[in-house]
Chain length 154, copies 2
């Protein structure tokens, strides 16, 4: 484990958690993400997104889908080859496949989704060139989800 | 095979082909779809879509994704349980998974996608309650794609 990379990944994951909290505040399942890429030659956050499926009444309005559309629009092309997405929960097959079409460079996520996660599929849903990293701030990302469902069940 | 259902499926698939031709005319990979549901109590086309990934520079802008967002917006809810999607080419994992989240009633498609089709995955990407029908106007749907790539290679 490269400590410099870990530090960068943790800092960006904290930004994704901020997005998840935005979702929580409006009663959405708290999942958030950011996409980091080159904006004006410098590495920076080029897109942010949080789950809005209830608010928009749109089953495709996952955090990642919105951020992909936003990032490609920002970059002016349909690929995100030198970008990294930081997302609090493991992408579902829809989002993993969208990240595949975008040929994203890296996917970094917090906690696994044992019911709907892309890793439940034997054959990878990601692009063969995409590096996938899991478990960054895993407990913090999972806590948000657990807290949400605990409140819902009351 | 129920001939009445087949006739209905063929008529709606012709509408999906119209959408695919719209894509062809603007240089997009010619894939089109429609979603049929109850609008004002009567069964009708409630959404249309065609591939716009190049035009919008957005890898998520598949025909199905646009139609799902449009149909759920029209119906005012995030589920499409009593709807059918007619799409000229087999959905990719992103679109199959989006149709899963929408819990769509039926998926009817024309030709298979041997490289990117959802059926390449052992574990189904569709919702367990979704009925999937393939091969409706298969040759016509496949011809459109072949014609597109033949022109591209010239």
């Amino acid at each position: 484990m490269d400590l410099d990379t870990l530090k960068v990944d943790i800092n960006y994951m904290l930004e994704a958690i901020k997005e998840a909290k935005e979702a929580l505040e409006i009663g959405e399942v708290p999942i958030g993400c950011i996409i980091v890429g080159k904006g004006g030659g410098v590495e920076r956050i080029i897109a942010r997104g949080h789950n809005l499926t209830q608010t928009l009444k749109d089953p495709t309005a996952h955090a990642e889908m919105q951020a992909i559309t936003s990032a490609t629009s920002y970059l002016g092309g349909k690929y995100l080859k030198s970008c990294t997405i930081y997302v609090t929960v493991e992408p579902c097959p829809m989002c993993a496949s969208a990240l595949n079409w975008a040929q994203i460079g890296r996917v970094v996520y917090g906690c696994k989704d044992p019911k709907r996660g892309a890793s439940l599929y034997d054959k990878s849903l990601y692009h063969p060139k995409t590096e996938v990293v899991d478990g960054i701030l895993e407990k913090e990302c999972a806590n948000l989800i657990q807290q949400f469902f605990k409140t819902k069940r009351k």
